[in-house]
Amino acid sequence: MISALTLKGRPIVPGKVRGTALVSTKPISFLGGIDVNTGTIIERDHDLYGKSIKDVILCFPHGRGSTVGSFVLYRLAKSGLAPKAIINSIADPVVVVGAIIANIPMVDKINIEMITNGDVIEVEGEEGIVRVFRGE
């Protein structure tokens, strides 16, 4: 694996992790959009419908919906179903608060179009750096 790309964003929650990217072009509503018992996206019409967010680096534009969504992220983390890290184009308060209380490394102001499903990614939350690794 070689580091194909280094992206610089804004640090939101510190922490350094490596994982596989799951990328969506649609906003995610954590309240109602995700099954808290399985970590699966259950919002019909969502491009990630049926996919599990457990242990992935979840890349999406921003959150939407009720502030209760923050608590959902906390609960997912407690049950071991949360993503390893969150990357947003532009963070919204629901996801920011959720990532803080659930202690999920998070970076925003990243052009997520540069990231493809299945890319291996390293997130450095403290510095706001995202490294994308690809192929040989």
């Binding site: 009720s66 209760v68 608590f71 920011v96 803080i100």
Partner: protein
């Protein structure tokens, strides 16, 4: 964002996990919205109390907070829960629900947050004009900014809770005078007859304004209860957190001329009303008290129901805070001897209406009529108070 040494210590965790994440929430939200520092607040009002709306995920989090021995540093109040524990109606709910709702109330209380359980905390203790607050509950936010003249952003449950514990809020948005100016001029040409017309106007304006602050001209009355209905509705269909009424406090005439102008005609209002009344079914619940009733609203209801009887096949709920109910004993007696119920600590929107066998509700609240179909799975009929009482008591 600039932090004092004291704030930095909390951010770094010197006072423990709970204060640390509270500080992180405030600082990161401040970063997000361009605040340069934190400012002290005089009170916090916290939403996210009904078990129906927040569920088990929030209980986990509140337990972790309360167990780490945190206490609020300012006056903090809570939004309605899902149950009035002193009213027998709610004993038919499942034991699990009854237990978990109590648990949530107790967890907030353990952190020093008052179990005021109302969306109208300003009737218990009104904030000072010009006071900085951190309030969640959109209808209370509009009321505080527009009718009281206090300063608050529209917080979510978690950020208001973080502010309650830290005693501060990031200085952005409506905490800055330059962001409190009107950005649209609304000219009301439609005829507004009662409080429900004000609610319908609010729903119409919220959709158009989104988060713009309007200066509204042409209202026939600035009566507090009517403005409360209008503000609550605006914050429901839009993100409006503040309005100006009546007199023109925009100094710059050029700015005023260039401002977007919205004319509201009878047809606009009629359309908004029709959108809120999606049912022609006979209601099984008549609900008054969204937002929670004031003392004078209870008086008005008592006067219009005096000498009448609520039919056996319909329930009449009047929702208010326990504080106001205790001050309104004579009105409560009139309403309840007519067969109505004066219910505290909850409301139709945040309780389990379907479990309480409600299928169609009639209300004078545009906010409730807007939310009830999606949040409660019931049909809604939207009518003014006088009509609601008539239908409740029809022979």
């Amino acid at each position: 964002m600039h932090l004092t040494r004291e704030e930095e210590k909390i951010y770094d965790g010197e006072l423990g996990w709970a204060y640390q994440i509270s500080m992180r929430i405030l600082v990161k939200l401040g970063d997000l919205y361009g605040a340069d520092n934190l400012i002290p607040i005089e009170s916090a009002h916290i939403s996210g109390v009904s078990y129906k709306t927040i569920g088990d995920a929030a209980i986990d989090f509140l337990e972790a907070l309360a167990d780490s021995d945190v206490k609020t540093s300012v006056t903090a109040t809570t939004n309605p829960a899902g149950i009035d524990y002193e009213n027998a109606i709610f004993t038919s709910l499942s034991g699990d629900i009854i237990k978990k709702q109590k648990r949530i109330i107790n967890l907030y209380a353990k952190m020093g947050i008052k179990a005021s359980l109302t969306c109208t905390p300003y009737y218990i203790e009104a904030p000072r004009c010009g006071a900085h607050l951190s309030w969640a509950e959109s209808s209370a936010v509009v009321y505080a900014n527009s009718i009281i003249g206090a300063w608050t952003n529209r917080e979510g449950g978690p950020s208001a809770l973080a502010s309650a514990l830290i005693g501060k809020t990031p200085n952005y948005g409506l905490h800055k005078p330059e962001n409190r100016q009107a950005a649209a001029l609304v000219k009301v040409e439609a005829e507004l007859k009662d409080e429900s017309d004000y609610g319908a106007l609010g729903i119409y304006l919220g959709k158009i304004l989104r988060d713009k602050i309007p200066l509204i001209q042409g209202l026939p009355s600035n009566e507090e209860g009517r403005l409360k209905q209008m503000g609550a509705a605006m914050a429901t269909s839009g993100m409006v957190s503040m309005f100006h009424v009546g007199r023109n406090d925009i100094n710059d005439m050029r700015l005023m001329r260039e401002m977007e102008t919205i004319n509201v005609e009878d047809g606009n209002l009629r359309e908004a009303r029709e959108g809120l009344s999606i049912s022609t079914d006979k209601p099984d619940l008549i609900f008054i008290g969204c937002p929670h009733c004031s003392l004078s609203e209870l008086k008005q209801i008592a006067e219009s129901i005096k000498g009448k009887k609520v039919r056996n096949d319909v329930k009449l709920w009047v929702c208010t805070s326990r504080f106001i109910r205790n001050k309104a004993k004579e009105y409560v007696e009139v309403i309840e001897s007519s067969g109505g119920q004066v219910i505290c600590d909850t409301c139709a929107v945040v309780t389990w209406l379907r479990d309480l066998n409600v299928k169609t509700l009639m209300t004078n609240s545009a906010k409730t009529a807007y939310y009830a179909p999606s949040l409660n799975g019931v049909k809604a009929v939207f009518s003014p108070l006088t009509e609601c009482i008539n239908v409740a008591c029809q022979k």
